[in-house]
Symmetry: D2
Subunit: 261 residues, 4 copies
């Protein structure tokens, strides 16, 4: 059974900016999807901001195994309903790969609980991503350091929670460093933040970056059935306690009553 | 300089429920504040839901070092503005101690990014909290296991991120277990979730629980000045790069332009 | 290609103790290996303390993908050479599953760097293992809580490093709790500590325990080629620096000299 | 009560190498100790390899709150007995700060359980240490990035366990990056690895480095009494179980018997 993968893009700069359009004539989502389709195990489709429900209806999300997220200029235009649905699906087990300027996207901030802020500079400088753990599934098939001739700089401090694993750390020509590949587990869902990518550089055409994204989709895929009631807080009545006990003392809730939320 | 500590309470059950009122005649916040005042280094005050801005104006939060949060029935009545202000202050360095049913409070869910769900049973059963690391500052002065004769059960799975440290794990008479003391770092702020406490049992009068709360306030206190711009993403212009570089390639942003959010 | 799995056992109690022999006539390693062989993807063999090099020659370890370790009475009889070879292979990518009393085995202590101590009681009491994350690959196919009618108690504090993930927490009839399933990454190798198992109870015949062990072998298997030079500290000469630099200042090492170890 | 701090040094290069002797005429330990003495709360002494028991008798370690470790050329000459005593004391609560080439020291490898390997180059290049969390106690009083004009390069991958916190990440002129400040908790003890320092550069005279070391001593100090039996595994007899239980089933151990180690 294929890994059902959706590449989401706000798809604005590619339409409004000639430089970006030339690099990504089919949109950044198109370029990323094309890269992912090199892996036959993936069933890849795309979704964009301007579609109904941003292309991410509840039904479609329910059939998505891994979602990739690109956004930059229009974070605010993503509806809170969509953000909650994406977060719910991550908690249930959908993988999420957040790209570059997506550090400030609503779904990522929602799932991290932190500002996700950083320092930045757009100078076309050289970036080198070092793999911290060469045996990690996400770095297979790439060189010990991935070199990008032109990149936007992102610098520490990066205000995210301590990750499960630091996968990549970037060196920048201008003197900064950045934790460019970070993994998280949130509920049943696995999250990978991956820094590279900027509209005005052809980074998503780079074979090594494409390889990392393919690896990341496989890593983020949780093959287990969705944990649909992950957000529920069921009462375990006294008579169903694993050990035999008797109720004692005063109570706030009546028998069978739901808990407060 | 004292540790400025605010105990927040929705303060509903103590007014509406005779059983609760008898146990906490001055409100749960009153009992907790009385316990904390045993430590002369704390400057303790309280705030409640029904006050203007829930008693948590921006000015007051700016002068709060550690906030304790009790809520149960009225999570939904806490305004989103207050939630954001609390989260912002945690990111800037305010400590936060979330109590018992506060697992479903808006500030805790906002900061965890997960459902924070669990299983529960109100049967007045015995609970025993085991300290996982007896050298941790939060468990000093208490016995290896704290025993509560009557407690509401909370059971795993508890849907929170992997913590920085697991401080307590609870055993319940009815057969369940729960990670009852968990630490997190979010931005500059330290967070401690502490499970014990239920309106119908005198748990916050228990000397060991009081001791844990005093320890937790000291642990959560970050004496460093507030990191006020923690959520900002400043541009580092080319001429201020730590290393001398020259801008090259096309750009999306004009010089001096702010980044997108 | 199958997952080459070796079950190691000190194999003493099954020969010296009639009770144990009756439960595990083919040895504990035999019972565990039989369970693992239910999965066709595994190529399962065994090794024991009394064999030459404890059955774990360098050549055999080099061909082992996942090693399971059972020891209790004879930890001290395992040679330091074997311990170092096991640790080296874990660093290179071999998975390691440490069982029950193996918490005090030399390889586990070597890899954790901590005392790995705990509390214990042999009373045949009931144990219930709660899955903390029901979506984790190691807990697939088992009930939310695994119940063992008779178990040796292990109690917290368990002196190990904070794990990557807490997978199981145990409840004991006598009142204690224990983190019974813990994951670690050490170099390229994945480690799973799994508490259940005691010589005088038929725990490794339990279908749920067998299922967990099969899951754990798949989880611990790193399909990437061995990271053979993981312990090397190669010099990167100036002329091979990623960026062009010139040597300056005084030096301790002559050009081409190896570093100190 | 002062924080009893011991600076340990193998003290070889300062005697054998004229360049090093000129920079550190009183030994590296002397320079570090002088820096720490700027804080009146510390009671600072030193110890060296050539002293009886390397200056680290059991009695002296028992009176040490925080130990700093410098070694490079003579790691092998440190006795295994000393290494075990240092590790034991860390488990009991002594803080440990491991400096630069101490990444390959026996105590650090013993406590990490990993190879602690890395890449290196001695070219006197520029290093810039970025603080990942500006609110961390270890980075107070220093600039957002500490710049060292001449440094030995250490490059990733650095084969250590995922840390509790990544405090510093280094940028190197030659193109590499390194996690230069990492915290760990092992038993009751706190460990800080800090990369800067090389015999042929005056790094320990740098005011910012001195400040980090002073901060680190305070951070690593655990004021709690030593956890002396941290490595013991006491039996909890049936009659002392927290809950009333009756022994059942066969047993391996006789009543009162010690467990195997």
């Amino acid at each position: 059974m294929p890994i059902r993968t959706v590449v989401w893009n706000e798809f604005i700069h590619e339409r409004n900016n000639a430089v970006v359009r030339e690099i990504y004539p089919g949109g950044i989502h198109g370029a990323i999807a094309a890269g992912l389709r090199e892996d036959d195990a993936f069933d890849v489709s795309t979704a964009t901001l301007d579609q109904p429900e941003h292309g991410l209806s509840e039904a479609r999300l329910a059939e998505t195994d891994v979602l990739l997220w690109w956004g930059h200029k229009a974070h605010k235009d993503v509806s809170d309903e969509t953000v909650e649905m994406v977060a719910d699906r991550v908690h249930q087990g959908m993988g999420l790969i957040v790209l570059h300027s997506g550090h400030f996207s609503k779904p990522f901030k929602r799932l991290m609980g932190t500002p996700c802020s950083l320092r930045w500079r757009e100078a076309g400088e050289r970036e080198r991503l070092w793999a911290v753990n060469r045996s990690h599934p996400i770095v297979q098939g790439v060189t010990p350091a991935i070199e990008l001739p032109n990149a936007e700089m992102y610098g520490e401090p990066f205000l995210v929670p301590e990750p499960m694993e630091t996968v990549f750390i970037s060196w920048f020509e201008g003197g900064e460093v950045f934790r460019s590949g970070l993994t998280y587990q949130r509920g049943a869902g696995k999250i990978f933040y991956f820094r590279p990518g900027h509209e005005t550089y052809p980074i998503y055409h780079n074979p090594q970056i494409k390889r990392v994204l393919k690896n990341a989709v496989r890593w983020a895929h949780n093959p287990v059935p969705a944990w649909e009631d992950v957000a529920e807080a069921p009462n375990v009545p006294v008579e169903k306690a694993p050990e035999t006990i008797e109720k004692r003392g005063p109570a706030l809730h009546k028998p069978g009553e739901e808990g407060y939320r």
